[in-house]
Symmetry: C2
Subunit: 339 residues, 2 copies
C-alpha cells in the first residue's frame, strides 16, 4: 500500500518533470495528481524515494527530479504503452509507402522518426549477415582495377573497388562473376564462409589472387564492420532540449558522428518487437550520459535486419516514444521483408 503510493509519487514526478522541465515540489504534486494525501505526506515519500536513489534535488530548497535509476524504474514498472492515434499510424504509412528503393526507405524512415518523436533518429541499413546474396556483379574500371557489386535480397548494394596485380579484361571479369555467382547466389551471407573456403581450388590459378580479394571483401562485410551504414536525422532537435544539454551539446554531437558508437547503441537491439531503452550512463558512452536511447530491431520474423531508434534527453516521454519507434519499425520491417 505504502509502496504503491510511493511508486505513484515517482510516476507523478517523472510525468510532471517531463512536461515542465522544472523540479517538481510536493505541493504541486499533491494538487495536480489527486493522490488523496497532503503535501506533507508526499514530502515523506519523496524523502524515502531520494534515500533510495530514485530522485534527487538539484539544490536544497528546490523540487525533485528523477535520477537515471528513477527513470529506469519508471520505464520498467510504471509506464504503460501509450498507443499511437489512428491519424499517426496513417501518417507513418503514407510517409513510407512512396519509397522507391532501399536508400529511399531508410532515409524516409529516419526523417519520419525524427519528426514524429522530435528527437534525433537513427536507422541502420539492413545488416548484411542476415541477408542473402541476390547477385554479384564484376566490372572492369581500368586495366588493373575492377569493381565488385554485391546485391542482397533486401535491395542493399555493397560495392568495392579491387586493384589487381595482374592485368584484367572483360573476359576475366565475366569469369570471376560467373564463379562468384555460382557459389554465392541465393546463399545466406552468414553461410558464405564455408562456401567460399572451397572456392579457390576450383578456379584457374591466375584468377585466384583476384578471387581471394573478392571473397575477402564478402567475408569482411560480414564482420559487421564499423563502416556498416546508417542514416541519421533530426540533430536540430537536440537544441530543443538545450536547457538539459547546454554545454554538453558539443560532445553529444561528436558522439553521434561516431558511427561505431551509434551502431553499438542502435544495433544491439536486435530483437524485433521489443523496444530497448538505455538511460543515461546505461548507454556506456560518457558523452551521452545525459541522454536516453530508445531502440528496436526491424525486420520480418524474429531476426532483425537492422536496428533503429532515437536519442534524446533523459527527460523524455518514454511511453509515447517507445510506441512511435515500435510502430515505425513495424512498418519498415514489413516494407523490407515483403519482397
Amino acid at each position: 500500500m505504502l509502496e504503491d503510493r510511493r511508486l505513484e509519487v515517482l510516476r507523478a514526478i517523472v510525468e510532471d518533470f517531463v512536461l515542465s522541465n522544472e523540479p517538481v515540489g510536493s505541493k504541486a504534486l499533491a494538487e495536480r495528481h489527486n493522490l488523496g494525501v497532503s503535501p506533507a505526506t508526499v514530502r515523506n515519500d519523496m524523502s524515502a524515494l531520494e534515500e533510495e536513489g530514485y530522485i534527487t534535488q538539484p539544490h536544497t530548497s528546490a523540487g525533485r527530479i528523477p535520477t537515471d535509476k528513477g527513470y529506469r524504474l519508471f520505464v520498467d514498472r510504471l509506464s504503460g504503452v501509450k498507443p499511437l492515434s489512428r491519424a499517426e499510424r496513417r501518417a507513418i504509412q503514407s510517409f513510407l509507402e512512396g519509397a522507391v528503393d532501399l536508400d529511399d526507405v531508410v532515409r524516409r524512415s529516419v526523417r519520419l522518426l525524427a519528426q514524429l518523436t522530435r528527437q534525433v533518429a537513427v536507422v541502420q541499413y539492413p545488416s548484411l549477415s542476415s541477408s542473402s546474396v541476390r547477385h554479384i556483379e564484376v566490372v572492369t574500371l581500368g586495366p588493373r582495377r575492377m569493381l565488385m557489386v554485391m546485391i542482397t535480397d533486401t535491395g542493399r548494394v555493397e560495392q568495392r573497388i579491387i586493384d589487381s596485380l595482374t592485368p584484367v579484361d572483360d573476359e576475366i571479369a565475366g569469369e570471376l562473376r560467373a564463379t562468384l555467382n555460382c557459389a554465392l547466389a541465393g546463399q545466406r551471407l552468414a553461410d558464405a564462409p564455408e562456401v567460399v573456403a572451397i572456392l579457390a581450388d576450383q578456379t584457374r590459378p591466375e584468377l585466384r589472387p583476384c578471387l581471394a580479394t573478392m571473397t575477402g571483401v564478402v567475408l569482411e562485410s560480414l564482420a559487421e564492420r564499423p563502416e556498416e551504414r546508417l542514416a541519421m536525422a533530426g540533430t536540430a532537435n537536440l537544441t530543443r532540449a538545450s536547457v538539459d544539454f547546454a554545454d554538453s551539446l558539443r560532445s553529444i554531437l561528436e558522439a553521434l558522428e561516431e558511427q561505431v558508437v551509434l551502431m553499438k547503441l542502435i544495433g544491439s537491439a536486435r530483437e524485433t518487437g521489443t523496444v530497448t531503452v538505455r538511460i543515461g550512463r546505461e548507454t556506456d558512452v560518457d558523452a551521452l550520459r545525459t541522454t536516453a536511447v530508445v531502440a528496436t530491431g526491424y525486420g520480418r520474423g524474429p531476426f532483425a535486419l537492422g536496428g533503429m531508434g532515437v536519442v534524446g534527453p533523459m527527460r523524455m516521454d518514454y511511453p509515447w516514444t517507445m510506441a512511435a519507434v515500435r510502430a515505425v519499425a513495424k512498418y519498415v520491417g514489413e516494407l523490407l521483408g515483403a519482397d
Copy 2:
C-alpha cells in the same frame, strides 16, 4: 594613400576579430598592427568605414566588427592565399590514400575537411550527369519486382527497384540487361536521352513497359534530383562558434539537414580550381544569414564531378579555409579522376 590605409585598417579589424571574437577598438588596433598612426587617426578611418557600411558597432561605446560587406571586401581584395604547410598537405594525402571505394573516399574527405577546418564540411557525391555508364545490371527480386543497378566510371552505384505489371523472370531480366548495356554502356550519361529515345522500337513489345521505367530512371537521375547524395560531417563544430550562433543554432542545423538547400550552396560551385565564398545573406538562405559558405568543385579537368565545401561562422579565417578546401578538392579530384 588614404584609401590604402583604410583598407589596411579593415583588414586588421577582420583579422583581429576572427582571432578574438571581440569587437576591436582603435587603440588595440593601432598597437597590434603597427600602422604608424595614432588611435585617433584610426578612429577617423573607422568612422569612414562604418559610413560606407564595411564595419559596424554592436552598441555605442564598443569596438567595431565587420559587416557582411566588410568580409566580402576582405575576401575579394585583401586576403592573400595562406598556403598549407607541408605537414598539412601530407596529412591530407595520407588521410585519403587508404580509401577503398567511392563511399569511402567521400566519407573520408568529408571528415578530413571537417577536422581540418574545424567547420561543418559537406561533400557532394560525383554527379551522374558528368559520368559515363560503365555497366547496368538487372536482377529479379521477386515475381514482379526487379532491381536495376547502374555503375558509373567514378565508381558510383545507383540503384532502383522497379515494379513490373507483368511477371518477370531471370531470362527477361537478362534480356533487359543486354538491351540497356548495349545502348548505354560507355556512353556519357549526359548523352543518354538521345540514345534512349530510339531504344523502345528495337525491343519486344512485352518488355517495353519495364524498359520504359528503367530508361525513365536513367533519365530522371540526370535531372539532378534533390535526392542527389551528399555527405556531411563536423556539425559538432557549430557549437564551437556558439557565441555567434546561440539561438540560431537550431535553424542552422535544420537548414543543413535540407539536402536541397545544401546542394544549391555546395553544388553551385562547379568550377574546379576556383573557390567560391558566400557570406551571410549571400547564401540566400535565411537560416544561414550568420554563416559563410566556402565551396569549390572537384574533378579532373574543367568539369566538376561534384562540389565540396564548408559552412561556418562569418567570423572565419577565410584565407586558410579557402586553401584547405581547395587542397582537399584537388586530391579528391585526382583520386576519382585517376581511374
